[in-house]
């Protein structure tokens, strides 16, 4: 599960709404709760909310523009979309100066090199962590019976911050650092809501650390939020295994792991042949259904760091060229679709 900002907005308001209900009138409360969903859909702004909730709602709207509309926008629509998103994020920060998601998303738009964005995330991570932990403790106290959920939601901005930092560390070529960040996050949130283990799997493959990767794979089905089950290894883990087998030149084994991908994901051959590189989600990794075609497209895009490595003439990277050749999809066919 990655983070769906709409759902998170809904949860935040739901928590606050439940808190306003009279605990001495359980039947009235149950009735009110049953109306919440309708009220959220019809008149969200009339529901009780804090400035922090309002700010988060604006973040959710900005995310919709940047992560979900921008990739499909026409050229002339791009700038107005970005301007709108920027305004929403500014407003969010006016309402809640500690809206870390908004701060982070604004920085992503302003800091154009991988390194400068990584530096920014790295420099501010301790303060964001501190702030989110404080908010988590406060939320736990405030929301009594729903302390766990409230605390969890309060911590999420930091999980997103640090998992973005891990993803940028990977792109910057800082693999040990990626793994350190993932370890910290997995300790903080053993359910791994931000799926940082996906990023860590790619980093272990970059370091050619087979033992590390298998440790990660074994640890992953303990208490994970996305219950894909041990028999359904995710595409990131599988791509990491393909790369490791290829790197130690066990091509039979690399083909077997590739076959696991094509068995588990629809239209996998086309995706593995095309190897599209997509922009990363700015709020968080895009929310897609587990084991969907889209999930594989995301994983292959993130695995670009593995695919496009080495000296080769066609610019595809040596593993990328090999994987594409294995799919049997002719190069011109994938070019037409791209």
């Amino acid at each position: 599960m990655s983070f769906d900002p709409r759902r998170e907005d809904y949860l935040r308001l739901g928590l606050r709404f439940a808190r306003t209900l009279d605990s001495k009138d359980p039947f009235g409360a149950a009735r009110a709760i049953s109306t919440f969903s309708r009220r959220y859909d019809q008149n969200r702004d009339a529901l009780p909310q804090s400035d922090g909730d309002r700010a988060f709602h604006l973040v959710a709207e900005a995310t919709d523009l940047i992560d979900y509309q921008l990739p499909f926008a026409s050229d002339e629509a791009v700038q107005p979309l970005l301007d709108n998103a920027g305004k929403l994020l500014d407003e969010a920060l006016d309402l809640d100066a500690h809206c870390h998601d908004a701060t982070r998303m604004k920085a992503a738009a302003e800091l154009l090199s991988f390194e400068s964005y990584y530096r920014f995330l790295e420099a501010n991570a301790p303060a964001v962590r501190e702030s989110c932990l404080r908010r988590r403790d406060a939320a736990r106290e405030e929301f009594g019976a729903r302390a766990d959920l409230a605390g969890d939601i309060a911590l999420r901005p930091y999980l997103r911050w640090a998992s973005t930092e891990a993803a940028k560390a990977l792109i910057c070529g800082r693999y040990t650092k990626t793994i350190e960040l993932a370890d910290e996050l997995l300790e903080l949130d053993p359910t791994d809501q931000c799926d940082v283990r996906f990023t860590a799997a790619l980093a272990f493959a970059k370091l050619e650390d087979e033992a590390g990767l298998e440790r990660l794979a074994r640890g992953r089905n303990v208490r994970l939020a996305s219950s894909t089950g041990p028999e359904h290894a995710d595409a990131w883990l599988l791509m990491a295994r393909v790369a490791l087998a290829y790197k130690r030149r066990d091509l039979t084994c690399a083909r077997e792991w590739l076959a696991r991908i094509t068995e588990s994901y629809p239209h996998a051959l086309e995706t593995l042949s095309r190897q599209d590189e997509l922009p990363d989600g700015v709020f968080a990794r895009l929310a897609v259904a587990p084991h969907s075609e889209d999930e594989l497209i995301l994983a292959v895009s993130e695995a670009t760091v593995l695919l496009q490595e080495g000296r080769d003439e066609n610019g595809r990277g040596t593993l990328g060229a090999w994987v594409a050749a294995q799919t049997g999809v002719p190069a011109d066919a994938s070019a037409r679709r791209a």
Binding site: E115, I171, G173, K177, R248, R249, G310, R311
Partner: protein, 324 residues
């Protein structure tokens, strides 16, 4: 590879074996005669083939000088032609001695193909040589390089290591380099250079330090660059800055070359020789490091924010301009 020197050594050793025990002076005298006219001393198909390899390498060397002044299209055509001719030359050597390792190695390298394909062929060749000649025997001196007849196999091993590296197989590159260093500790083929880049890419700080100590911290362009990359990757920017300035100050043109990547053609069959600290050394190190520099996308941009680094790059550029 200095083929003519190796040929003289090989022919002299074989002839002296035939002649029986020679005094050191006698052997030196024999070597002088051989070097004046090696072909007179060729007694078997192995040396006949090796003589051909030497000629082929001299030809490709000359043709590379010719290529330098051509424009892009003409260059590519000429280069292809010269490589095809090298393959034909190697085939002639192989018709004399099908087991000639250098000729077979050059044939694979001259095809200039994807590192994955090339590695497959080189590993096959390695295995065939091992089956035919048995494991590499290290002489009493402790260094396989001292046995001139083992050198072709060592060159093959070094090519395997570099091809692993170019194909992003860094652990394999590292282990190939280590085994080469074990067999030939003098490391005239520079396995330690490839090894240092692989260790930097794998972020193996302990490994890189140990390698540096093993070679008495002698320093070279590869090690300086490896250290700078490693420190940058580990996010220790102060140390990275000192290391990149070490590279810029000690390796001629190093800063300039990092900012202005310069084309280097394939090695036939091994790394061209260079003077320590020379521009050629920097050129080769930056060229070999390219895949791992690219893997750390903002490394060069970061170095270019350091005023002293920029001054060094600029200074070299100005000097080079003045020199033209």
């Amino acid at each position: 590879m200095d083929a003519s020197d190796e040929l003289v050594r090989r022919l002299s050793l074989k002839r002296s074996d035939k002649l029986g025990h020679l005094s050191p002076e006698g052997f030196a005298e024999l070597e002088r005669s051989v070097s004046k006219n090696p072909s007179l001393f060729v007694d078997d198909e192995h040396e006949a083939a090796f003589l051909e390899v030497g000629k082929a390498l001299a030809r490709i060397e000359d043709s590379r000088d010719e290529e330098e002044n051509l424009d892009d299209d003409a260059y590519l055509r000429a280069r292809r032609h010269h490589l095809d001719r090298l393959v034909a030359d190697c085939d002639r050597a192989l018709s004399l001695d099908p087991g000639c390792v250098d000729a077979r190695l050059l044939r694979v390298l001259a095809a200039d193909q994807d590192p994955n394909e090339a590695l497959g062929l080189l590993l096959e060749l390695q295995q065939e040589v091992e089956e035919q000649d048995g494991p590499l025997v290290v002489p009493d001196s402790g260094d396989a390089w001292d046995d001139v007849f083992s050198r072709p196999r060592l060159r093959l091993d070094a090519a395997v290591a570099r091809t692993c590296f170019d194909g992003a197989r860094y652990r394999l590159a590292e282990s190939s380099c280590r085994s080469l260093i074990e067999h030939a500790p003098s490391d005239l083929l520079g396995a330690r250079l490839t090894c240092s880049l692989a260790l930097a890419r794998l972020e193996d700080e302990k490994g890189l330090n140990a390698l540096d100590v093993r070679f008495r911290r002698a320093g070279n362009a590869w090690m300086h660059l490896s250290r700078a990359l490693l420190m940058f990757k580990l996010d220790r920017l102060g140390a990275a800055q000192r290391a990149i300035m070490g590279f810029a100050n000690l390796c001629e043109g190093g800063a300039y070359l990092l900012v202005h990547p310069t084309y280097v053609d394939i090695y036939l069959p091994d790394r061209p020789s260079f003077k320590p600290g020379s521009f050629e050394e920097s050129l080769l190190a930056v060229h070999e490091a390219d895949p791992i520099v690219v893997d750390t996308p903002d490394f060069v941009a970061w170095a270019s924010t350091l005023p002293e680094f920029v001054a060094k790059a600029q200074g070299f550029d100005d000097g080079a301009d003045a020199g033209w």
